[in-house]
Symmetry: C2
Subunit: 192 residues, 2 copies
DNA sequence: TAACCCATGTAACCTGTTACATGATTAA
DNA sequence: TTAATCATGTAACAGGTTACATGGGTTA
């Protein structure tokens, strides 16, 4: 049920509307959790019925009205309890690696294009994460600062590692493609 | 629908029973995809009705009978089509980082215990992954070798990065705990 | 005037988890 | 004799995705 907890963690920093939360979990939590707006609205109404958040209606003149959600004492307690419970590792799931693993089935240029595209996406994510870290270090609350720093720094390291790996993978596939072009008996068009 | 594709990718190497697949997606695919046995049995029966795999009944004297699943030509084609379609990054989801981010809510020893425990789990996973890489490099099929190498090597890098990060995080939290013990006005028991 | 941003939701569907169910063989 | 391993499944539920729906204000 970590979506609920990620929402609560996000509301610790500042009260938000569902819309705010949906936009990449504004602020830092977006570095380690994602969810669609549908999921967030559903979860917020559950959290409200459970008393972990309260909604404040905000009427706006020029914009649609919105609901500002605030975390309650009960929400804090529930979050604390969850944090204190030991958990196992987050499940491994990565499409790109599955594709690459079976990559010998398809022509090399397709894989290379996919790797380039992923490299690009990781680079963008890395920039976002760096900006989020900056923003959080501006925060004058030294109690939360180093915790945020630790969490976001992992995300940054992970993206950096992705970029480096993409570069290596691209280099390897391009190299083997060239050497194949120069050879004279390529009877398997997708072998490295 | 990547579970189906991960199963097919796994069946490229060797035909398996549902039970075999469930045990960490025997062989390499387990480095980047996980699923419970219930999910796998459900998915295998769908793949069978779609004609992407065929089941061969194997009667065993001393063990329960089993079904060996083989990938079909249609399954291969379907896998190829999927690989060739551009995809976006796998979604970010990590409980531990959410916990750490809101870590100022709980006493430091709880976080430290959780970090130590995660470090241990990552170390175990790293060992498994290294063994899987070894096993795949023994494989004499040079066509699949470097693709497997690339995919698994990312998993190994990621686990290595986790270990290094855990060490840093533990060091930082332990250091700040010590300095707090020596100070004389710790009115916030969970601030670093 | 078309596209995008703000802002909230519903409904159907697919994916993943938890609990339940069975039953023989083998190693401690 | 207890627990683990092999081997397959069903059912109920929670989590996540896709599509649909609305409507005013702002920017190009």
């Amino acid at each position: 049920m970590a979506l609920a907890h990620a929402i609560l963690a996000s509301l610790l920093d500042a009260s938000c509307s569902g819309y705010d939360l949906a936009k990449q979990f504004d602020s830092a939590v977006g570095c380690f959790w994602e969810a669609s707006h549908q999921q967030i609205y559903r979860e917020l109404s559950r959290l409200e019925t459970d008393g972990h958040v309260v909604a404040e209606k905000v009427e706006q003149a020029t914009r649609p009205n919105k609901k500002l959600y605030h975390i309650t004492a009960s929400g804090r307690d529930w979050l604390k309890t969850w944090i204190a419970q030991p958990a196992s590792l987050s499940p491994l799931k990565d499409d790109l690696l599955v594709k690459l693993y079976a990559g010998h089935l398809v022509p090399r240029p397709i894989l290379l294009a996919e790797l380039h595209q992923h490299r690009q996406q990781h680079a963008e994510r890395l920039n976002q994460f760096r900006a989020r870290l900056e923003a959080h270090l501006q925060d004058d609350d030294s109690a939360t600062q180093s915790f945020a720093y630790l969490a976001i720094s992992h995300s940054i390291r992970a993206e950096t590692a992705w970029l480096a790996w993409c570069d290596d993978a691209i280099a390897l596939l391009e190299k083997s493609e060239k050497s194949r072009d120069q050879s004279d008996a390529p009877d398997n068009p997708s072998s490295p």
